[in-house]
Symmetry: C2
Subunit: 495 residues, 2 copies
């Protein structure tokens, strides 16, 4: 067996183990009976430790070194690049540290759930303090250049640092805050659904099936289930699963969750099956993944053009729905309002939520903000940026799961997703013509094909920045998003 | 780490891998999208080979040898005994052979499905020939004492040989054939459901949920799903899953499938969680497992006493059902009729189906019966034993999946299950009093507790024969079953 084959075998073994974690994770959220939790925890921890063993295997280091001196084709090059990054990071972290970190995270998650349901920050704070301390230790162990927070940012979107995010976010904030003010001053009234009208879960499911089929999601190679929080799991070729939840008083929440998750799902279904269980066959980054979900959810789904196509399906499932125009539904789908919860935020305020978390994380890791000062800092910034007072920590700094998992540096990738999506839409429009006309035409194949060719099939062959550059002709930048959001909401709210 | 800990760690790793196969198997039958099949095959084969690697690890041999010279407590002793058996067998089989066998089985399964749907034996025969040849090779590799078929029988129920089965089956046949004849001559008419009446799947599901809850199946530690063929998968502590299917023209088929699978499930739920991922925490044998399913399905479920309890639930779900007495329903549930399909057979003819397969397998491996002669042999024996002519191979030698999986030696464990169940019922009755009165009382906890104490909690601490001896005071024997079946059907059919 030559070095290439031996390397790929080791890489595939590692990814089989992480894919099994993904499968058990999906099952845990959708099918697992409650008393299965303990054994599930054991087997997930075991899979993680087995995968870590393959990654940090001495042979992995030797094979990487051997392959790196030769000339590699693009696919093998991508696998070597990605495995080198993961290997170098993994070998710096002792397994006792991982054990301690995993254990602390587990109890922090439980404490966060309780703290959130009781609105009791002080119940969560000591756990968060431990996680912050461990994360600082991890930053030291990794010993990268740049600011401490840079190390965390790089983990979730390779190559991104505070020096990249700061000007980007400043540019967004400078134009989003005035846009939000103009919208709030516009006096436009959002139509309300008839009082007491219900939308049965089964009918919502049928409607969402129709929409995700129209998007091109292949249900022969995937499925839709229910879970408390919607998510998408791309397990392996031919098997991509996403979830949603049903609120019988509100059909839009489920619809846009489905378009979001099916957008993630289309990316997974478009990855090259021939690269199964290697990085080359995986999505390149969280930011790019989020661009795929946001593009379908917002730029395709939250338009009058979409509703021209979807209205008949909607009325077929909900015959009591009043005869609203696509434009009226479009307005409902694009209500802008400063509010407390990020996951429910509109496109204008969403990135402000992200930036607020970014600023606080930066303060924690680069400026030494104490965990105990997080609530006051959060609430002070919130009133400055959103103009509304946070009523309690459940609607404030306790709302997201991320910190309980020590996922510091994750939030900014949501905004990257929005930026990339807007850039991709512009580039797609250059190739395919007016996007609204395409959406209205009801056949969305050419849009999916464009994404397949320019994003999905590329897997991890390039870095995120290279991929966006190649697909759109420009480096990652906020202009396209600002143009899009100012144009769309300017016209919706008559500004 | 001492030898015991190192041994148990290796054993647990192996069982984590086989449990993951079980989980993916469940998912494959209930949730997997069709295009996921190829990657699923890859990952299942990989898990099998990883598990085999742990089992045949040189350390396993060393640790077994080291532990066997010391004095072991009962739990560790059981684990050493079971692992020794598996290890000795596994190290005799080269991995190239396993690879070849697995590949041949995969294509045989596909060929069998096609042959069955086209009623075309000759499409399946060449695959079966290969499987028989490979199985003969495997018997040689294992090099056990006794007849060739003994090696296969022992794989499915340790300690059982042709010398054990032959007299047992002869004894059964001697009394079952005349019993069947008397029943057929009795002239008793079986009531028929009203023409065209349907039993909606949702209502059947609700009814079956109620029954399995009454049995004591813990739905907080398990679930019920749908699949083409009902089965039960005991994954790990707190997570036991069984399946069923719904025929809207016939509510009994689903009910008894559920009682059967939930019976398996109760065994799995009663195994000691402290022995997770070791043989001690697993069911001891197929025969004992089948005794648990058959006891609930037949000896509890197919009685007038059961219907006295279940009738109100049944009528709540199916309000159009005529007001039949429990005795009338009991007769419907116990219709005896010589027919072609084993899985649909009643308690009287069921074991004859098993014996016919046993005889043919014995001829193949001990007497050199050619694969091409199987259909004629089957059909000739069938008319002799059942008095009816097999119309085609789909209703004859193509009906079961087992041979396509090379599961030669498996069938007899079904009859052992029936025998054990009857012995257990007798013993239970000695401890708890009249079983029909207990069933009729509607609280079945004491029966489940008895099974928990005498069977479930024992896991693999003893061999099957020792377990039956300890639980019932007698070695495995057919008398209890014959008494049960002659008593029950004699009274039902007025013989």
């Amino acid at each position: 067996m030559d070095a290439k084959e031996e390397f790929l075998n080791l890489v595939r073994d590692m990814h089989r183990l992480t894919s099994l974690q993904g499968h058990l994770g999906w099952d845990q959220e959708t099918k697992m009976p409650p008393k299965g939790a303990a054994a599930r925890g054991d087997i997930l921890a075991w899979l993680a430790s087995e995968a870590h063993g393959r990654l940090t295997d001495a042979r992995m280091g030797e094979l990487l070194a051997e392959l790196e001196v030769g000339s590699l084709d693009a696919d093998l090059g991508a696998n070597v690049r990605e495995m080198r990054r993961k290997y170098d990071e993994a070998v710096k972290i002792p397994s006792e540290f991982i054990h301690e970190f995993t254990k602390t995270r587990s109890s922090a998650l439980v404490a966060w759930q309780q703290a959130r349901s009781e609105d009791n920050w002080s119940h969560f704070a000591p756990h968060l303090e431990k996680l912050v301390a461990l994360t600082r230790q991890k930053i030291e162990l990794l010993g990268n250049e740049g600011t401490p927070y840079d190390t965390l940012l790089d983990e979730y979107e390779v190559g991104m640092t505070v020096a990249d995010y700061d000007p980007l976010f400043a540019g967004l904030k400078d134009r989003l805050v005035p846009l939000l003010k103009s919208i709030m001053d516009s006096g436009v009234m959002i139509p309300r659904l008839p009082e007491g009208m219900t939308f049965p879960a089964d009918a919502q499911e049928a409607f969402c099936n129709r929409v995700s089929n129209a998007m091109g999601f292949d249900f022969e190679a995937g499925r839709m289930d229910r879970s408390t929080h919607p998510f998408c799991a791309g397990l392996w070729p031919g098997d991509t699963r996403f979830t949603t939840r049903f609120d019988e008083a509100d059909p839009f929440s489920c619809l846009y969750a489905v378009m979001h998750e099916a957008g993630h799902g289309l990316y997974e279904q478009g990855l090259g099956a021939e690269h199964v269980f290697t990085p080359r066959g995986h999505a390149i980054s969280l930011g790019v993944h989020e661009s795929q979900s946001r593009l379908w959810e917002n730029q395709i789904g939250r338009t009058a053009a979409f509703w021209k196509v979807a209205m008949p399906w909607f009325r077929e499932e909900f015959p009591d729905m009043p005869d609203w125009s696509p434009e009226k539904l479009d307005l409902v789908a694009n209500e802008v309002k400063p509010d407390f919860i990020r996951v429910e935020a509109d496109e204008v305020t969403y990135n402000l939520h992200v930036m607020l978390r970014y600023e606080i994380e930066k303060m924690i890791f680069n400026e030494g903000l104490d965990v105990e000062d997080i609530p006051a800092t959060w609430n002070r910034m919130f009133i400055e940026w959103f103009g509304i007072e946070v009523p309690d920590d459940t609607h404030g700094c306790l709302q997201d799961v991320h910190w309980s998992m020590a996922a510091f540096g994750y939030f900014p990738t949501y905004t990257l997703g929005n930026m990339y999506a807007a850039q991709l839409l512009q580039a797609m429009s250059k190739d395919l013509g007016d996007i609204d006309s395409l959406i209205e035409g009801g056949d969305w194949t050419s849009m999916l094909d464009w994404l397949r060719t320019n994003i999905h099939e590329k897997g991890s062959v390039m870095t995120p920045a290279e991929l966006i550059q190649q697909a759109t002709g420009s480096p990652p930048a906020p202009d396209a998003f600002l143009e899009y959001v100012e144009g769309k909401y300017g016209s919706l709210y008559g500004i």
